[in-house]
Structures are given as structure tokens and as C-alpha cells.
């Protein structure tokens, strides 16, 4: 398509029309918009329009995107038991309503605190929630997600310990998290040592002890781990301490912090994880929100933004981005991280969720998850051909094993409009008959019974 005349072509998101353009060109002192682009050499300028669809009206866009969305098979019209680091929990109605307030949605990083107190105070509150929930001292304003959060935690640990080359990561940490760490550190000269699990699904402490040489700068375990099993933080901490390694707790199911003893109470140095479970839609994996909370002694090594309290010239309490000398815009090549844009709006959603649910609600969500998972496990335990291979304590997720390939069983369940779980074979060799099942407060007893009967008939047919 040939290039249109910029004076006549109009668009609904751009106010200035031909009369404005004429007047502005006059003020600038040039006779056409093209003159403003003379620094771009002619031989790289496009001679025609890009070959892409549009412009579409809202009517056309709605038609196309809705049709696309409707081809997905999702929790909209299926009963879902999917977890694996992304959980479908109750989302209070007022979260999204508040997120749509323009002052939150369409503002930017609070570089100018006098006109950004709303965002700054909200981050300060979010930081406080994170500290209360993890039992640690200092939280940052957010990271991209759980996986990149773990990368940042590993890098932080190395900065603290120095001159050691190995990081131990439990094999039961979310495999995509570990994969991401592998990508991040590929040129930094560190080595990942993976430690497996024992029959109960918890980390193999004998193997961990063996792995924890004086070359190890950090030990990372996830709890509940990717198999759904709650780790023994104390046992891990004792071994890591003996090696002088930084102890990193990874939390991929954030609501578990409402009921399980937090890593801070077990002497862990860093809690890092994924906050999606706090009322954020699963939305095919993003945007989510990474959180990181550390012991006070580590705060100056922290990646990302931090909000602190101060006063204005009149003595009024106020909030501001602080300890910025850690960050890329000041320290450039020597910053603690390259992160700039984070997940502020999702952290706001988490703050609203945590405030609404509050002390009682966070516990009740945790309680319901535990009880409903226990109910389902109990039912499955008594069913022929269904095995629960790991007998360690679980929060809301666990592994189910049948004599048949998981993909086949899950296809049968899908036929019954059930998204029954996540096949483990894609993450671990030798687990082709295993799949992960997650239960939340959204499941009713009837849903759980329905799952049991569908699975029972799948394994018996």
C-alpha cells in the first residue's frame, strides 16, 4: 500500500488533526512532517506501508479476539485441577475494579514522589505484607515472577558469599525455575548441583549433605515443592549452615504462607517466589509477580526497587524510592540487577488481595486447601490402580500415579470436561505415568467426587 498523506489520515487514539498539524508545523518552521524525519537516511525509509492487518474498529477487534479466546479449552467451561506454579484461587471482585482506576493503571514508576504517593504507599504496604507472611525482614517492590526471582536470589547469594562457584538447587524446585537460572548464569562461571528426593517426596538430605561442600554459596529448596510436598526447612537449614551457604526458600504457591510455618522462622536468609496465587488470574503464565524478602543484613544487596518511609519538609509522613545506589540507573554495569520495570500493578493486586483476605482469610484459604487436598487424597488412596507415590505432607497439590501414561488418562478426563492435571513426564524422566493435581478453595466436595469417579473410570476402562 502506498504511503498516506499524514494531514488527512486520522485515528481515534491521536487527537491532533490536520488543522493542528498545520499550525504546529508553522510554529516549528517547516512545511511538512516528512521534513522532521530527514535525519533518517532515505535508503532505510519505508517506501510503503507495513504489511499488517488493521486498522480495526472495536467491533472488528472484539469479534476476532473473542473468537480466538473461545477456541481455548479452559477453566471457563472445564473443571480444572491444574497447578504447577500457577493456581486458580478465589479472586475478590474489587481487586480488578481497583486496578482499573486510571491513577494506578496509567501512571508510571514513582520517580516523582510528590505526585506518586498512591503507588509508593501501596508498595510500602505490599512490602510489609511480604515481611509478615515470610517471617523475614526486608521485601522489595516486586520482581518479574518466581523463576526470575530465583535467578536474582542466586545472584544475590553469590554477591554475599563470594569466591564460591556452586549453587545447590533441589530437583523438586519448579523445573522451569531451575531452567531459567541455568540461562541466567550461563556465562558467569557458576555451576548448578541438583539434589533429588526420597520416597516421601522431600529433598534427599543425605545427598544434600554430600553436595554441600565448601564450594557451595547457596542452597535453594521449594516448599511446597514441585511434587506438592512440604519440605523440612530445619533439616535443610542445618546442612546449609554447616557449609556456610545462603539458604533460599522458593515459594511457588503463595497462599501456602497463610498456614505453613514461614521460611523466616527456620532461619532462611531469602524467601523468593511467585505471588500469582494471591488472587491473580492464571492468564497463560503472565503477568505474574515475583516477590523477594531477605534478612536485614542483606538489604543493600537486594535487586530491584525499594520503597522507604520518610517525611516531607513540613514533617508529614511520606514514601519514596530508596537505597537506589544498588540500582542500574545509578550503578550501571555494577548494579545488583538489571531490572527496571517490574510488576507494580500485579503487586498492587496482591496488596489488595492480602488486605481483603487479611489475617483470618489467609488462614482460611490455607485451611481449605489443606483439607480439600486431604479429602481428595484420602478418596484416591482407597481406589484400585491409583497410587499416591509420595507420602510426605502436602499443602494443596500432589502427584497421582496410575498404570497408564498420564497423557492418556488426562485425555479421558478432558473428555469429561475435566482438566485433570499436569503430566510430570515432561519434567522428569521415568515419570510418564505421573501427573500433578492441585486443589483450592474453589473446589467443592462434589467437584472432588466428580474427579474421583472420572479418574476411577479412566483407570478401569
Amino acid at each position: 500500500m502506498p504511503l498516506p498523506d499524514p494531514l488527512t489520515d486520522q485515528h481515534r487514539y491521536i487527537s491532533n488533526a490536520s488543522q493542528d498539524v498545520q499550525e504546529m508545523l508553522e510554529t516549528i518552521g517547516v512545511d511538512s512532517i516528512d521534513r522532521l524525519f530527514e535525519t533518517i537516511p532515505d535508503d532505510v525509509k519505508l517506501k510503503e506501508l507495513l504489511d499488517i492487518p488493521g486498522p480495526w474498529s472495536e467491533i472488528e477487534s472484539r469479534r476476532w479476539f473473542r473468537a480466538l479466546a473461545s477456541t481455548n479449552k479452559t477453566a471457563v467451561d472445564h473443571l480444572s485441577f491444574l497447578g504447577g506454579g500457577s493456581y486458580l484461587h478465589y479472586q475478590p471482585a474489587c481487586i480488578d475494579q481497583l486496578l482499573l482506576r486510571a491513577e494506578f493503571l496509567t501512571s508510571y514508576t514513582p520517580y516523582q514522589p510528590e505526585v506518586s504517593q498512591g503507588t509508593l504507599q501501596s508498595i510500602f504496604e505490599y512490602q510489609t505484607h511480604q515481611c509478615l507472611l515470610t517471617g523475614l525482614d526486608v521485601a522489595n517492590a516486586s520482581l518479574y515472577d518466581g523463576s526470575t526471582g530465583l535467578c536474582e536470589a542466586v545472584l544475590l547469594a553469590e554477591r554475599v558469599v563470594r569466591n564460591r562457584k556452586k549453587v545447590v538447587i533441589a530437583k523438586s524446585v519448579h523445573p522451569q525455575y531451575t531452567e531459567t537460572v541455568r540461562t541466567y548464569i550461563q556465562n558467569l562461571g557458576y555451576e548448578i548441583v541438583e539434589v533429588g528426593w526420597t520416597d516421601d517426596g522431600r529433598i534427599d538430605t543425605a545427598a544434600l549433605r554430600e553436595a554441600c561442600t565448601n564450594e557451595v554459596f547457596a542452597v535453594a529448596v521449594q516448599s511446597p515443592n514441585f511434587l506438592g510436598v512440604i519440605e523440612d526447612y530445619d533439616a535443610v537449614a542445618e546442612i546449609a549452615n554447616a557449609a556456610g551457604a545462603v539458604k533460599i526458600a522458593v515459594i511457588a504457591e503463595a497462599t501456602s504462607l497463610g498456614i505453613l510455618t514461614p521460611p523466616g522462622e527456620h532461619g532462611f536468609d531469602i524467601a523468593v517466589g511467585e505471588g500469582q496465587a494471591w488472587g491473580i488470574p492464571t492468564q497463560y503464565g503472565g503477568p505474574f509477580v515475583g516477590f523477594m524478602v531477605v534478612k536485614d543484613a542483606l538489604k543493600r544487596h537486594m535487586p530491584g526497587r525499594l520503597v522507604g518511609e520518610t517525611v516531607d519538609v513540613d514533617g508529614r509522613r511520606a514514601y519514596v524510592l530508596t537505597l537506589a545506589t544498588r540500582e542500574q540507573h545509578i550503578r550501571r554495569g555494577k548494579a545488583t540487577s538489571n531490572i527496571c520495570t517490574n510488576e507494580a500493578l500485579i503487586a498492587l493486586a496482591a496488596n489488595i488481595y492480602l488486605s481483603l483476605m487479611g489475617k483470618a482469610g489467609l488462614r482460611e484459604v490455607g485451611q481449605q486447601c489443606v483439607q480439600k487436598a486431604a479429602y481428595l487424597r484420602n478418596k484416591l488412596h482407597n481406589t484400585a490402580s491409583i497410587e499416591l507415590p509420595f507420602d510426605g505432607p502436602v499443602y494443596n497439590e500432589f502427584v497421582v500415579r496410575t498404570p497408564f501414561p498420564a497423557a492418556q488418562i488426562l485425555a479421558d478426563l478432558e473428555h469429561e470436561k475435566i482438566l485433570g492435571g499436569i503430566p510430570l513426564g515432561q519434567f522428569y524422566d521415568g515419570h510418564d505415568n505421573d501427573f500433578l493435581v492441585a486443589v483450592t478453595e474453589l473446589h467443592t466436595r462434589e467437584h472432588l467426587d466428580q474427579f474421583v469417579s472420572a479418574l476411577t473410570s479412566a483407570v478401569s476402562s
Partner: protein, 485 residues
């Protein structure tokens, strides 16, 4: 920004009262058992909030009123591209079929998502003029790291990953930080008197040890590097790569394409050029386009289309740098960006650049004379002034920025780029109507006059905001980073 409240909003923790509830769950409908040993369970979360839904709505509504936003008016942060955020994008992203899809669902269940990812990649490929784009990175800096890791891997594969990344002194801080985390040392290139990079400076710096030049086009002064193709030639001749920070793509989208300039890698901040809301600091997305020789090193998985029109995630790229994040990037930011690209169409995208550049040059023309223009080279979508004329009266950039708030405007980016002392970096974007630009320029000119006539008024600004100037030194010296009872 006319009605902004004084900051009297207590912390949510201070609103807490024993017994208040903000939620209700259905009663537990399974028999309660001792499912977990008590040793694994925490006691009550001391100091967590107890508030009602009314308390929450009031609290966050009041908090929101302490912010200015693009919906309320011009928000001219340079290099941030604060443009209008169309609400259709928000509506489409909330379509239940997208919002409730799960990242670990098998491909056959999420054909709609995969198709959408494929379409946005195709669209970005055309916009960039490049053969492939990864959608995994979730922010600009994340894209930078991804891009430089690819460069490293490609060079390592051909025998020598090399040591240095060249970065002009006008660059964003994320550039050197990302290059360092990708395993490189930084060599800074001095800008010339136009604020751009000299061919000769570059040619002298590109040795066999240099992996890439990382350059922002147009640069942070808004000046286009007219020699960009020759930069590419010099680098390619020595086996090095040309990385483009696409933060400023808004100034040339639809006018010219990075791929046609010889650029090997570019990241684009979808929260800038493609209108996804900044949300007080994120989420964003930072897709990365690459030239043909870098395609094998893209992060896994990629989205591919079969001949029968179905889509799948392809993990089989043996030379890939690996995964840069769990799951599938910031999918629902990508949904918003594609919605925007479709709303704009090819002519709309081109018009973005035209009007963004027109608006910035209009501000430049109107403020010239009132403020010092340290680099006189023609600029595109943003213009950088300095406080040189005002320092005579001991009024500085920070003061001018704060005084703008009293006139109802968010200040521009200040003290950046670092090559300009007392920089005021103004980017209006295409969204702003002439009236808003005039009101902003009138305010800036009035402030310049105040600097002459009533400098103390400017030095003590702002006067009308919810809080006045903060004691930032105290915040850093005695950090209070959380509420405590």
C-alpha cells in the same frame, strides 16, 4: 491534575480492627481432619490486616487520588513513552478464555493463545523487518539480557565469545547492567558534539575483542544515529553484532525498520510503543527481534505453525540460550499489545511516529529561548533541555520539575541522559492534543519567568501536592522499609 488530596491516608495496617472481615468463603464442605502435623503450621499471622471490603475500597480509592496519571493529563517522562492506554485492550485481556487459560495446558487446549502469540510475532517481525521474534522477555531490561545472551552464545559457538560490549555514554543504565549479567565487560563510547556516536570513534573501538555495540536508536537525546548502517558494516566486518535498544521505537515505527538498518538484535518495550499500561512501574513486555544468524539461539520454546494451520510450542532448538522465564512470557500484556496493533493498523502505526515527532518538535520550538538546548541536532520524539539559563539564579532542574507539579503536570525525566548537566528530557508522545502541549509550554515558560523574578517560589516547590519535598537522604540513611506496630 487539579484535585489531589493532601496525604492523610493511613496505612492499611493502621485501619485494622479486630474482628473485621473483607471476605467470605463457602463453608468447608469436606470433613475436617488433622491433615498436617501442628509443627508445620504457623500460628496466626501477627499484625496481618483485619478490615472490611468498605475499608479496602475507601483506602485504595483514596490512595489512588494521590497519583497523577496519563488519563488525567500530559505525563512527559522522556524515554518512557507515556501514551494513551486504550480501554479496549483492557477489555480484550479480560476475555475469560484468555484470562483463565493455564500456562501448562497442552498445546491442543490452547490453540487460541498459540495463534495469538504467532500473530503478534508475525506482526513484530514485519515492524522490525526481522526473521524471528521471541516473546518471552517481560520487560525491556529482560529483553536486553536475552539479546546479549544470544550474541554471547553465537560468538561462543564460532569459537570466541569475546570480552566487551560497547555502550555510548548516553545509554540507559539497564544496558551496561544487562551486558554485565550476560558475562561482558563494558567499554563506554564518548558521544560527539551532536550527542551521537562518531564513525571514527566506533571504528577505533571495534577490536577483535568486541562482541557488540549496544545502542539506542534514536538515542536518549532523541537524535537519530544517521550512520547506523555504517555502524552495522563496521561491526559485521569484525564479526561483531549490532544491538538496538528499542525503547525509542515510537519515533520511527512504520517509518523505517531496524532490520533494514543492519541491526542484529532489537528489544521493544510493549508498554511504551504499543500502549500497554505502565501500571505504576509494570508489568511490561520486552520482545526481542533477531537477524537470521541469531535465530538458532532464540529462547525456547518458540511458537510454530503446522501446515494444517494448528500451532505448537517447539522446544527443539539445540543451540538455544534456554528459557528466560517460566511459562510463556507476559501473555496478557501481549494480548493488549496485539489489540493495539490491530486498532492502529499500518497507517495508524506510522502516524504514531509522525505525530509523536511533531509534538516533540513543537515543544522544542516553543521552549527554545526559555530553556537552554545543549544539543542542537534535529531530534525526533523527545527533546532534552538543560537548566543552564536558570542556574544563574541558583534554580536547578529539580526545582523546575517540582514547580511543574504546581501547574498540574507530571515533570519530565530529569538528570538523564547523563551527558547533559541538569537534563530535562521531555517526551510528549502522539497522544497529546495541541491544547495540552500549549498548556505545558505555557507552564514551562511561566516557570522560566519565575526563575528570574521569584526564584525562591520555584526553589521551594511544589506547593500544592499531597506532600511537599521529601527528605530522601533520611530515607536512605535510616531505612524504614516496612510498617511495624
Amino acid at each position: 491534575m487539579t484535585t489531589i488530596e493532601k496525604n492523610s491516608v493511613g496505612l492499611i495496617f493502621e485501619h485494622s480492627k479486630r474482628g473485621r472481615r473483607g471476605y467470605r468463603l463457602p463453608a468447608l464442605d469436606v470433613p475436617e481432619t488433622d491433615a498436617l502435623p501442628a509443627s508445620l503450621m504457623r500460628s496466626e499471622i501477627a499484625d496481618e490486616v483485619e478490615v472490611s471490603e468498605v475499608d479496602v475500597i475507601r483506602h485504595f480509592t483514596r490512595l489512588s487520588k494521590l497519583n497523577v496519571s496519563i488519563d488525567a493529563g500530559l505525563y512527559p517522562l522522556g524515554s518512557c513513552t507515556m501514551k494513551h492506554n486504550p480501554r479496549l485492550n483492557e477489555e480484550i485481556a479480560r476475555t475469560p478464555g484468555f484470562a483463565l487459560s493455564h500456562p501448562l495446558q497442552p498445546d491442543h487446549q490452547v490453540q487460541g493463545n498459540l495463534s495469538l502469540l504467532w500473530h503478534i510475532e508475525q506482526t513484530l517481525m514485519e515492524i522490525f523487518g526481522m526473521p524471528r521474534v521471541t516473546l518471552q522477555p517481560v520487560a525491556g531490561a529482560h529483553g536486553e539480557l536475552t539479546g546479549i545472551l544470544m550474541v554471547h552464545k553465537a560468538l561462543a559457538k564460532s569459537g570466541n565469545a569475546r570480552k566487551y560490549i560497547l555502550i555510548p555514554d548516553s545509554a540507559h543504565g539497564t544496558n551496561p547492567a544487562s551486558a554485565a549479567f550476560a558475562g561482558y565487560q563494558i567499554k563506554e563510547l564518548k558521544s560527539n558534539s551532536r550527542g551521537t556516536v562518531d564513525i571514527d570513534t566506533l571504528a577505533a573501538a571495534v577490536t577483535e575483542d568486541v562482541a557488540a555495540l549496544m545502542i539506542t536508536v534514536p538515542n536518549t537525546l532523541g537524535v537519530f544515529e544517521s550512520d547506523i548502517k555504517r555502524f552495522a558494516d563496521i561491526l559485521h566486518e569484525k564479526g561483531a553484532y549490532l544491538y538496538c535498544d528499542g525503547a525509542n521505537l515510537n519515533s520511527f515505527v512504520g517509518i523505517a525498520r531496524p532490520g533494514d538498518m543492519g541491526i542484529d538484535v532489537i528489544h521493544s518495550n510493549l508498554h511504551k510503543t504499543f500502549s500497554t499500561p505502565h501500571g505504576g512501574g509494570g508489568p511490561g513486555a520486552g520482545p526481542v527481534g533477531v537477524s537470521k544468524k541469531l535465530v538458532p539461539f532464540l529462547p525456547t520454546p518458540t511458537v510454530e505453525r503446522r501446515e494444517d494451520g494448528t500451532f505448537y510450542l517447539d522446544h527443539s532448538h539445540p543451540d538455544s540460550i534456554g528459557r528466560v522465564r517460566a511459562f510463556n512470557g507476559n501473555f496478557n500484556v501481549l494480548v493488549r499489545a496485539l489489540t493495539y496493533m490491530r486498532s492502529m493498523g499500518p497507517d495508524g502505526l506510522r502516524r504514531i511516529a509522525q505525530i509523536a515527532v511533531l509534538n516533540a518538535n513543537y515543544i522544542r520550538a516553543r521552549l527554545r529561548g526559555s530553556y537552554h538546548l545543549p544539543y542542537d541536532a534535529p531530534s525526533l520524539h523527545e527533546v532534552v533541555f538543560s537548566d543552564k539559563l536558570q542556574t544563574a539564579k541558583d534554580v536547578h532542574t529539580l526545582d523546575i520539575a517540582k514547580r511543574l507539579m504546581d501547574y498540574g503536570f507530571h515533570p519530565p525525566t530529569i538528570y538523564f541522559p547523563l551527558i547533559v548537566a541538569g537534563a530535562l528530557m521531555i517526551e510528549p508522545t502522539e497522544s497529546e492534543p495541541k491544547e495540552e502541549l500549549d498548556a505545558f509550554c505555557d507552564a514551562m515558560i511561566a516557570i522560566a519567568r519565575e526563575c528570574e523574578e521569584r526564584p525562591e517560589l520555584v526553589r521551594s516547590a511544589p506547593h500544592t501536592t499531597p506532600v511537599r519535598r521529601l527528605d530522601e537522604a533520611r530515607a536512605a540513611r535510616q531505612p524504614i522499609l516496612r510498617w511495624k506496630r
